[in-house]
Amino acid sequence: MRNAMSKTRRTLLEQTKLQIGRMSSLIEARARDVFGANQIMSADEISDFSVEFLELMVALFKTDNPLDHQTAEFKALQGFFSNVAKQILLRGGRMADFLRYAQFLQKIFIEALEGDESVDGDGVRAILLLLSNVFNELSLVVFESYLEEKERTIYAQQEELRETATPITEIWDGVLTLPIIGTLDSSRTMLIMEALLNRIASDRARAVVMDVTGVRAIDSQVSHHLIQMVRAVQLMGTDAILTGIRPEIARALTNLNIDLGNVTTRASLSDGLKEAFRRMEIHVSTPH
């Protein structure tokens, strides 16, 4: 078994060394077709890729067991593929193209054996098994890189959504406004509360006007979240003013036995701002 492996990797090593120039030309030519045309990889990068890839493959064939995924040589090859895959993705390349290209790289090694008459049927089978094992693992690496990049993109989009979902504005020195639009569920309340409380601390806000004109419907959970938010603001020592409660929301709050006794409410955002200014003794006048 050990001898068979030794023969397999020796054959691959010899043929790769013998035909390295031809293999390199083929690898570069295909890369130019796939990645060069749409500027995903430059000519220099394609050339570097070819050289490094063949060097890593030669290093792998020199190890006692090229199928051992724990060797430094195998890990180096995995790392190399992972980096290239990420780079291609970042530049707008398609993962399917890179996977097909990886299959092509495998084919190059198989074709290199065509002229070698010393390899019998068993030898060919062993070589094919070895190559398919190595390239399957590399395809997995490429796929994992693809998933990582996708997850990173989704996370970045979620972050952006979070920021746009909590548009806290300092409308006057020490006065923050927070228009709440859409549905207020537990996770969103947490996000808004966290952002709002940190903003109060950093801006040293004296008053917060929370406008719920954009809240379409309210149930016991949402109203509970609203009250929690107001409470947290008050605990920080900041005045909380709730504005824009539409009649149907007011009726729902009454039906739900929600006590707004401790909460300052005003009809509209502008009334809320006036109340905040009044408390802070800010006088705004219009010229006549």
């Binding site: 966290e194 601390a201 040293r204 004296r206 409470r231 605990l235 020592g237 401790n262 408390r279």
Partner: protein, 124 residues
């Protein structure tokens, strides 16, 4: 003879106009509020305090026991004519308290020491 305040886990500093700043240390044992309240009130009277600003800047979280301690000290201060205001509550502490408490605590709060005059709940 008064016990040393630092041994009890707090430090009182007069900051002018009858205002006293209380800074609790890690060793403050709120499990024994009786002794602490008496010790603090004796000092406040000695300093002719009108307002006590309780500094919460060092507390990332305020649990039930600490909340009860603040309420009991606030009530005791009221009994001797001193207004207690909790200042510099951390966002994490406010977040946690708002989630866990069914009602607003009875003590007043302010963003900072200088703002202790216009505070909740007195401003409502």
């Amino acid at each position: 003879m008064l016990q040393d305040a630092s041994e009890l886990g707090f430090h009182l500093t007069p900051i002018g106009n009858g205002q006293i700043l209380l800074e609790p240390s890690q060793s403050l044992d709120v499990g024994d509020p009786g002794t602490l309240v008496v010790a603090i009130l004796e000092r406040l009277q000695g300093l002719r305090a009108a307002t006590l600003s309780y500094d919460l800047a060092g507390l990332a979280l305020i649990d039930d026991a600490y909340c009860r301690w603040l309420e009991s000290l606030s009530n005791a201060c009221r009994a001797i004519g001193v207004r207690m205001v909790c200042v510099r509550m951390q966002p994490t502490a406010a977040f946690g308290l708002a989630q866990t408490q069914a009602r607003l605590p009875s003590f007043a709060t302010a963003l900072d020491v200088g703002l202790a005059d216009s505070t909740f709940p007195d401003s409502q």
